[in-house]
Amino acid sequence: MTTTTEHGLASGPTPRLSAGLPAVRTNRRRFSWNTALRVILLLIAAALTLGPVLWTLSTSLRSPSESFKLPPSFIPWNPDFTSYGQVFQQLNIFLLVLNSALVTGLIAVGQMVSAALAGYAFAHLKFRGRGALFSIVLATMMVPVQVTIVPVFMLIRGMGLSDTLLALILPAIPTAFGTFLMRQYFLGLPTELAEAASIDGASPWRTFRSVYAPLAMPGMAIVGILAFNFHWNEFFRPLILTISEQNFTLPLGLVSLQGNLGTGSISVVLAGVVLSMIPALVVFMFGQRALQAGLTAGTGK
């Protein structure tokens, strides 16, 4: 065991996080000051984490002249939705959402498929140079996107894709992290089925198709959700690779709401921020479990 990347998954696709935690660790029924202190500390941490978001929500529901009210209010008692109307006036929110959804969705699907295939090859197929190739794939994670953006930009220009959504999608489909996750995932699946298949004389393709592929879905879902989360919020590449506002994604549109020379209104800007949170929030609610599992599964021990 020289590097952790060679570690397999501890206990299959979903780690024991969801299977309940070592709860019976201390004595049960006794109230302890220790526990109370701990919960209070955690509550403070949770307040600091959620407070800024609540403030954003409540400020977006006040008129601009009340936006700097102190003491701050975190709950909007008399919501004023005019700022939201203005966001729709100033930005084509629907188009921004459509673009973000197209870009993020296609990247997610592309990553799921390509990472599943490559991850399987690295996990269960034998070929010369496997170790070296996998190291190269992992090493690309270390190169900041800013380093390669100029050549990528010229490449995109050469392909005639300047200022298109495809310019955002295509380069993002090959994924080192996703490939790594899927390899770990396939390594963690039980091997009995594969052995049975190979005893039956199934070809590697059949083994994949009838044994592993049907079981790959949960792992692919993790890759997809992670890709969604990352690319939905991505800022730098869209900043460089898109020019027309028709091709903007949400984060770019929001920053431009801030306006030129201080003419932007804080409530409108915050209303835009809140609107952009909604889709991520939906994914959060439905995919939180898988996402948490994914984050811990691929990288945790």
Partner: protein
Amino acid sequence: MTGAINGQLRQITRRTALGALGVGIIGASVASWPRLSGTDIPGRGDNSLSIAILGTAADAAARQRAIDAFSRIHPDIKVKVQAIQAVDWKDFFTKILTMVAAGTPPDVVYVATEGAQLFAEKLAHPLDDYIRRDAADMREFFSDVHPSLVEAFMYKGSLYQLPMDWNAANMYYNTTAFAAAGLDRPADDWSHLDFRSSLAAMKKARPSDFTPYYWTNRLFGGVVPWLYANDTSFLKETRSTGGDWLWDGFYASDPSRSLRSGGYQWLEPNANDDRVFESFDYLRGLVKDGLGVRPEEGGGNSLVGLFASNRIGTTPAGGYWVQGLHEAGMAEDGFDVQFFPRWKTQRHQFGTAGYAMMKTAKDKDAAWEWIKFSSSREAMELIFPNPATTPARRSMVNEKLYASKGPAHWKVFYDTLDRFPTTGPIPAPPQQAAVETALMKNVSLAVSGDEQQLKQALASMQRDLEIALRRQP
């Protein structure tokens, strides 16, 4: 048995579901292909005249009426406006340079003073020949536009843009805060010391939850107006010769004719000038005594909210601010505007903007027709229906524009140019991006420490400016 069949069924339905999903994804991609490849953007890739402006889709739509009017006169020229969203002008120029790099430069670009010389040096085509050719049409335009604005677009004797809108850094003040402190409207020629004592009076009247002087760290309305008022700047300002063709042709009888040149030049840093130190030291004093804030870099997006909620006494801004304050719910008598305070001079700072024709424009004559049409009174009234900026035409800065929005002394806006004819543009050599960074990054340090820190910040500014100006533009 049944279990196996069930299993098979499940297998089949899952496979069908997956297949359907796959088909769905492929179908969706195909259906959205125009969106993915950008081919659904009108005018994309055709040979229509493409015009890039800083703004949102709403701004582009606002120009539609001007485009319609243009099409009635020139039905043969197809025009498309590309609104490019950006946080500031530097950001906007970055986008234009990116378009050039991507091989899809626009034909005409709306460029502000910040980028005028960058474009003149590298990207734009001079308008001289067209102006001479259509001198008869242009006479009416120049007679309505102050020569200071025009001179800002002169570069080495050639004119690259016609000013469309502009803004000087005047001083906005909150009338309620002034009244509460027992202050009258300041005199036209109030000095920097008068200004300071007004701030002190407001601070005394309302010690907390209030800032007498709010300013931000940027090229327009930051430290530069205080440098200009003190008859200095952070770059040495010189003029190039030439340009007489324009001044003699259109401004021969203007009282400020003798001041005009072939354009500004900023070739050397000047941050080690004694008067630069003096101006910075004055601002440092305001910050130290709690009369002014430490300026935020790139700040300004909280300005309207803060001013409209009566938490700011004074702030430098131009005519562009009226609409924003109105929309934020500020009454027209809640604020007013006065000239920037006098020091050694009362020279103001302004920024202006207009269309530049790109060297790479496919049809330069068509581009000129657009530029010329846009400078007409008819077009400008369509483009500037409200006081979100100050029109370059004197005749349009009128009662009607500011009706029910204020301020009471809106005349201050254009009078700035007439009263102080040496009023000059933002210092912006072709290396503007680097120069702006060199200035801005040292301002906060300069005004928020002791004298020693100020001296260090100015020394570092001088050095940074030297590096910036040495760069190939």
